[in-house]
Symmetry: C2
Subunit: 202 residues, 2 copies
């Protein structure tokens, strides 16, 4: 008896919730290419971008990746995406972290080359998604002109999705974006002495 | 002259930073299978888990996925991962959102089946990563016993990585986890009337 009542109350509550959800869905009618930003100190910014790449690839749409910091080094995601052949265009244009190169002029030149490649990919209508990995880092250090980057991102094709990753996103980029997620660090294994591991960090 | 000085200062600063980074790396020596939680109201919880799957697959390691809410419906990530054949075991065991089923007993039975499958995958040494997608939802609604779930996750094989996703993670699960990331919503396109789109939301 009590169980039947509970089930009845649950059903009534969920019917109400369903009506509410349906109403919310009806209000959303716009389709457009999104400017997406994944920022914050936590893990998952680039990883979520690659997860989105996977989703796009599932529909047979082409994905372009430009990495602003990572260079020739080996990563699992790069190897895995190689399986999709021509659907993925992967450009690791970085020369490593600023503390590795120790050369600001070289960092700026690398950022400019990466941005040039980004513009080429964004102009190519065969791409459904372009990932600009760690672009926020290049913007933070002022290796690129913020205003012209934001202008070019805002002027993207109406059906092109772009994901920008990296900590410390500039407010002007938040303003231009459709979706901004801040990855916050609640607990991190590095603090417990765990090292970067294959398949997790790279 | 000013430029050369600036370059010199930059180099000195980066040398110091490099020494600091190297020291940090030296302190991290532990290798272990991580219990990872992606929670919070923002986007990217499941997406980052699938990005991690991609990284693992790049090293030829098997990935298991159990979905606690999503059922038979079509998603891009599922199609894309099908390309990896036997390396991916995908189990969509949900029956939809609680407001769709409107049947608590049915939701509980589905959660229990999904958890049973999760335990089987975690016990199978061929898997390097197991993703328990939206397990937090089943725990939040008390469809599963929290203590025994946390116990089983904590007793996982030493080299098995597990990712748990979903909003409103329980404090006991944070306690047991190695890495917890909170996805925070800074700006969301749904609020601007944009609908869920192929390749982005599903």
């Amino acid at each position: 008896m009590a169980e039947a009542e509970d089930a009845g109350r649950h059903k009534a509550k969920m019917e109400k919730r369903k009506a509410h959800q349906d109403a919310k869905l009806r209000d959303k009618t716009i389709e457009k290419g999104l400017l997406i930003v994944n920022t914050g100190p936590g893990k998952g910014k680039s990883t979520a971008a690659f997860g989105l790449a996977l989703r796009m690839l599932g529909y047979g749409r082409r994905v372009g990746v430009v990495q602003f910091i990572k260079g020739a080094w080996h990563t699992g995601e790069k190897d895995a995406l190689a399986r999709f052949g021509d659907l993925v265009a992967w450009h690791a244009m970085g020369e490593g972290f600023t503390w590795e190169t120790q050369d600001k002029a070289r960092d700026i030149a690398a950022a400019e080359r990466a941005w040039q490649r980004s513009r080429e990919l964004m102009a190519d209508p065969s791409f459904g998604l372009v990932i600009l990995d760690e672009l926020n880092i290049a913007l933070r250090y002022e290796y690129l002109d913020l205003a012209s980057v934001v202008e070019a991102l805002s002027a993207r094709r109406p059906d092109l999705h772009v994901v920008v990753t990296g900590r410390n996103v500039k407010p002007e980029l938040i303003e231009a974006a459709d979706l901004v997620t801040e990855m916050g660090q609640v607990k991190h294994h590095f603090a417990a002495g765990v090292k970067a591991q294959q398949g997790i960090e790279f």
